[in-house]
Amino acid sequence: MTTVRRESRETAADAVSRGPSGRGPGRGGNRHRAEKPGASRRHRGQWSAWAFLAPVTVYLIAFYAWPLYRNIELSLREYTVRSFVQGGAPFAGLDNYREVIGHDTFWPAFGHTLLFTGVSIVFQFTIGMALAVFFVHHFPLSATLRALFLVPWLLPLIVSASTWSWMLNSESGIVNAALGLAGVDPVNWLTSPDYALWSVIIANIWIGIPFNLVVLYSGLQAIPAQIYEAAALDGVNGWQRFWRITFPLLRPVSAITLLLGLVYTLKVFDLIWIMTKGGPADASITLATWSYKLGFGNLLPEFGPGAAVGNLLIVIALIFGLIYIRIQRRQAAGS
């Protein structure tokens, strides 16, 4: 029950919680506070802390544990439509996992998932950051324009995805019409195996920019103006200011943004489903899309393999989550 033990137990929440507030003084403050109180006080603290957490814990168990359990159970049994309804599906161990990993679609889907997620996040984040830095200076209409940047978010995905597939249509899409004016041959954005994946990535980047903009912008707001003023006195120019001051101070917020971006992007399926159905011939299929296709995209659902692919995705996210914590801890130890 000593503070030493507490420090060693520090995990994600602490890392995360320190995140955005992790400007120098705040962080140190937290540490010191943790060391002050006596043992009995801490004990009482535990109870009341869990009292505050109780609603969320109950909620978590009630609403996440059951679907997750169902998904694992689905993936470990050999379900047919009949046994799905009537029960009695035989236990199949890891057969479903073996089946999906051995499937022709697995490695393409895996590679596309990494590419889709990686490229989407890099561009969403970079563009979001650039826009956040741009909007942090006040100018006429800045608040309104910033709000307008969030409009894409308000659109139901079926609408934004359909609009994109409209614009990228080979025959009558505006993008090809514009390329035609510039003298470029039309591109079969959605129907060529070479471009389909890039098309959905472009649409996904567009959809993800508002989220990155809002969170990063809020992070920028937290950087005290005095720091910039001091830097200005030292004769630091704009570019240096970004790399030496803004970026390091924004690191905790950036980490959260990237992690959330990762979690949200890994599981994108509806956008791809609406735009290309993962096609042509699996050219734009990702693990999430494949999972949906197996479970729901056919007249005859294959629940077992579908759930297995879904669980593999969760494992991938888990790995990234652990890497994140690792990095956070090392940084905390280093600073």
Binding site: R9, E10, T11, A12, A13, D14, V16, S17, P20, S21, P25, G26, A34, G45, A49, W50, F52, P55, V56, Y59, L60, F63, Y64, P67, R70, L131, F134, F139, L141, S142, R146, A147, L148, F149, V151, P152, L154, L155, P156, I158, V159, S160, S162, T163, W166, M167, V214, V215, Y217, G219, Q221, A222, V263, Y264, K267, D270, A288, Y292, A317, I325
Partner: protein, 269 residues
């Protein structure tokens, strides 16, 4: 002068970003026969208001359902995640770290799997196709995010402020209600905004859990125009346009508060 240059650049950037939205508006005004014209019409020449007529006749009840669901989700999300954020940030219980890691990972469960799990529960509980049922489901999108943001934000509140309240004889609950919540206004607004947006644009939960019945949200109202074999695209896009107007208004208003940020503003130190 520099400021106006920025406004100019901002206008151009916004125009690029919103081009797909413009395209949606354009389609909403286009006649069925011109939808696939090659080359496409940049402006809705021979436009039609047919889509909007259909929407105004049929979609208004869906809009109000969406509004109720959105606001309900906001209340539920804040009520659940603010105390949790406070506990994780300031009371730091053992196991809290694991809890928030689980919260983060919980979001990885594909929405459709969540929805299927909910479906079985809801069907037996009889809350299928009800507004409270949908609110509960929609909140699962926002609660983990809310906890994360509140935790991050509240750990920035100086301990001295809390200790002062304790010295005045307040217990933890009173401290939370009368000290922590008021200074966390911006975090509340941010979480509310996100919760609202997610609930507003949710489709997977809506279609699985609220696909029939009288109280359907606007994302499903769109489905009226997606028949078995046919889709009325101008009406679909018109619905989207109409649906985004109230939400955009809300956004522009809320932006003033979000501007102060996820992480700052509450405590000027």
């Amino acid at each position: 002068m520099r400021r106006f240059l920025r406004t100019g650049a901002g206008l151009i950037l916004t125009a690029i970003m919103l081009f797909p939205v413009y395209w949606m508006v354009n389609v909403s005004l286009t006649r069925d026969t011109d939808m696939r014209a090659d080359p496409p019409h940049l402006f809705p020449v021979n436009g039609t208001l047919e889509g909007y007529r259909a929407v105004l006749d049929q979609q208004l009840p869906y809009l109000s359902t969406s509004l109720v669901v959105g606001l309900g989700t906001v209340l539920l999300t804040v009520a659940l995640s603010a105390p949790a954020g406070f506990a994780l940030a300031k009371l730091r219980p053992r196991g809290g770290g694991a809890l928030s890691f689980i919260l983060l990972m919980a979001q990885m469960i594909p929405g459709i799997i969540m929805a299927m799990g909910f479906y079985a529960i809801y069907l037996n509980a009889g809350v299928l196709n009800t507004v409270p049922g949908l609110i509960l489901a929609d909140s699962t999108i926002a609660v983990p995010f809310g906890v994360l943001i509140f935790t991050a934000f509240m750990s920035g509140i100086p301990d001295e402020l809390l200790q002062a309240a304790v010295v005045d004889g307040a217990n933890r609950w009173r401290t939370f209600v009368s000290v922590v919540l008021p200074v966390s206004r911006n975090a509340i607004v941010t979480v509310s905004l996100f919760a609202f947006l997610w609930a507003w644009s949710d489709f997977v939960f809506a279609t699985t859990l609220d696909g029939g019945g009288d109280h359907r949200p606007i994302t499903l109202g769109i489905y009226q125009y997606i028949g078995n074999n046919n889709q009325q695209w101008n009406a679909i896009m018109a619905t989207a346009v109409v649906a985004s107007i109230p939400a955009t208004a809300l956004l522009v208003i809320a932006q003033r508060y979000v501007a102060a940020g996820v992480t700052s503003g509450a405590v000027k130190d």
